[in-house]
Symmetry: C2
Subunit: 354 residues, 2 copies
DNA sequence: CTGGCCATTTAAAACGTTATAAATTCAGCA
DNA sequence: TGCTGAATTTATAACGTTTTAAATGGCCAG
């Protein structure tokens, strides 16, 4: 096939650069085409004849060609990498891993790779974002623990760098997000407690910084106001607190006056810790008090079937975030299409006995 | 500084490629040196005069230069990336995230980045390894869930590709690993049950495939044989089983003849599920039965202080794995230096009441 | 048979870095 | 003066890809 009239440096220099991976050049030599043509053919450029495209693709498959990402990246400036900012607090109960698993699913079959930027130690989140954008280490970013006036969102919006947050902000510039409707969750969960006859629900909410904390409280407050019952928002602990701290706080609260008779827990660990604290006080779940909790793994309901739960599917969330980010990178500019509010699945039993 | 006799295309073409990141060329133009010299200076090559090195470094710092990783990678073939193979089973209780956090710590300050290759869906582990090595996507690999004749280890050893496993193999070619001494853990834990007066401990062990499962069983068997007491290895479930399955199996076992009176649990979820199953049968931990378990988070002891635990620090493990891998990549060929067996910290109380 | 136009293919340059080999400078010495 | 060699710097060529601009060839109208 190769034109023998041309200088024949085929055998020694090209063929398969130092016995290693096949490159475009390898294919070019086999087919007798120019490297440019091969490149074009593989990217299905319309200017290359259909027949040529087919042949090139066949040869590529046969010799197991796959493009060198470093070279592509150098040339195009695109990294084909999606970065996930991971926070140390996300270790618990596989939060991080579930999300990542979902993102990975969304990235399946695309040219994109998932790379996790653990934000452990030293750097603040904003610094990490700075670093990543400055060094063009990814084409898009995903992160959670979103704050109402999140500085990361500000920075990335300013730079025009594609990203998706897990959680909303209150910033005026709209941006892509995937969020769970924590208001509805919290509202329904609290209503459920009241429907069970409880008259003083307590909320264990998220850390003050985060947007979802507000949503949880809002849902909770709406439900207790509607019912006109007493309530309490437990101070001194939050969903990020270690289980031991939550346990102790709950226990302590019951030695004081006018304790709550039920709990709305934003997480599984929190629910388990609460049960332990209460149990230490000699109180039994389902008898002296009730709990409704958000569940993100399958642990809680297996261990404590007494706790009523509403499930949040973090893997699905990750998948959505991946999809949304790909759309954003792909040029989707209608941000409203890139904002997903996932609805809690309220168990049928919740409605029945209300 | 720049020699004015040379063609002055400084202003338009170079200066800062399309107003973006500074490159070696930017520094070269500022200092009036050649690109090569700058490159060398920044890598502290001895052939460059000390004065020049200093000046180049200063300029680089001033304009905030950082090398383009894609270009480095293309040129050198090194990726400066460490890959972690993550298994869907590792979602539980932040296993994956702890390990990663540790690796990230070890990589701090090096040129290496951590990239997680989630092995969810389709591909088998070996296929993923194939893919990664073929496409030179990393300079080194870390993975867990090691099997006695692990095909990934075989493949990577053959290729001479640097890697570290979490867990040992039984292959004849030695390779770098970091492992927890599960034999000692299991042996001590079981002895503890016996010391508490239990006469028929049951083991809930790992999935049959993995090396550590053998170690757990060996330790368990050694302890029960020494004591000459009855024992049982629970069938039908393992540490990978969902909590609900373990709970059900334990419950069922107690409806049958001659049930065990204590449990050696390889994990926290397993311990919690066991307690739930037993509790369903009306049996109380610490009274009718005992449990010793391995703990990798801080959940179990906060929730169920009755369970005696031995702690395995996965973050430290990750850090060790990262360090070992860096050494391996750095050329350390004495494999015995790259094999770490971490000793369980046996709580003082274990010895006291024996 | 010339010119022009289309479809297809191609050569050359570039991305930012490093490796190789060569060039330059300057001191010391014959 | 000219040579040798050490110390320092430099030009050039890669790495594998994509982009830009240009070339090739075939076909048809004039």
């Amino acid at each position: 096939m190769a034109d023998p009239s041309k200088p024949v440096h085929a055998e020694d220099s090209g063929s398969a650069a130092k016995r290693g991976k096949p490159t475009l050049r390898t294919i070019a030599e086999i087919t007798g085409l120019a490297v440019t043509t091969v490149s074009r053919a593989l990217s299905d450029a319309p200017q290359i004849s259909l027949e040529t495209r087919k042949r090139v693709r066949e040869v590529a498959d046969e010799i197991g060609y796959s493009p060198d990402r470093a070279a592509q990246r150098l040339k195009t400036g695109r990294t084909n990498v999606i970065g996930v900012l991971l926070d140390p607090h996300e270790e618990i109960l596989g939060y991080g891993t579930s999300i990542m698993s979902g993102i990975a699913k969304a990235l399946q079959g695309t040219a994109y790779h998932l790379i996790v930027m653990p934000n452990f130690l030293n750097k603040t989140n904003v610094e990490a974002v700075h670093y990543i954008t400055r060094n063009a280490m990814a084409d898009g970013l995903i992160f959670s623990r979103t704050e109402p006036l999140d500085p990361r969102v500000r920075l990335l919006s300013d730079l025009g760098f594609p990203f998706v947050t897990h959680g909303r902000t209150e910033l005026s510039t709209p941006h892509p997000y995937v969020d769970y409707d924590n208001f509805t969750f919290s509202y329904q969960a609290t209503k459920r407690l009241i429907a069970k006859g409880r008259r003083k629900p307590a909320l264990i909410s998220g850390p003050a910084d985060f947007t979802f904390t507000g949503h949880l409280q809002h849902g909770f407050m709406t439900a207790v106001r509607e019912a006109g019952c007493a309530y309490e928002i437990l101070t001194g602990i939050d969903l990020d607190s270690p289980a031991g701290a939550i346990r102790d706080r709950v226990r302590q609260r019951y030695t004081e006056a006018d304790p709550p008779d039920s709990f709305m827990c934003g997480g599984e660990v929190c629910a388990l810790a609460t049960i332990t604290g209460m149990s230490d006080c000699g109180l039994t779940l389902g008898r002296e008090y009730d709990i409704v909790a958000k569940q993100t793994s399958h642990l809680l309901s297996a261990i404590q079937p007494q706790v009523e739960t509403i499930y949040e599917d973090l893997t699905a969330t990750g998948e959505d975030m991946g999809r949304v980010l790909l759309q954003k990178i792909g040029g989707e500019s209608d941000t409203s299409k890139l904002q997903l509010l996932l609805c809690p699945q309220i168990p049928a039993s919740f409605g029945s006995s209300a």
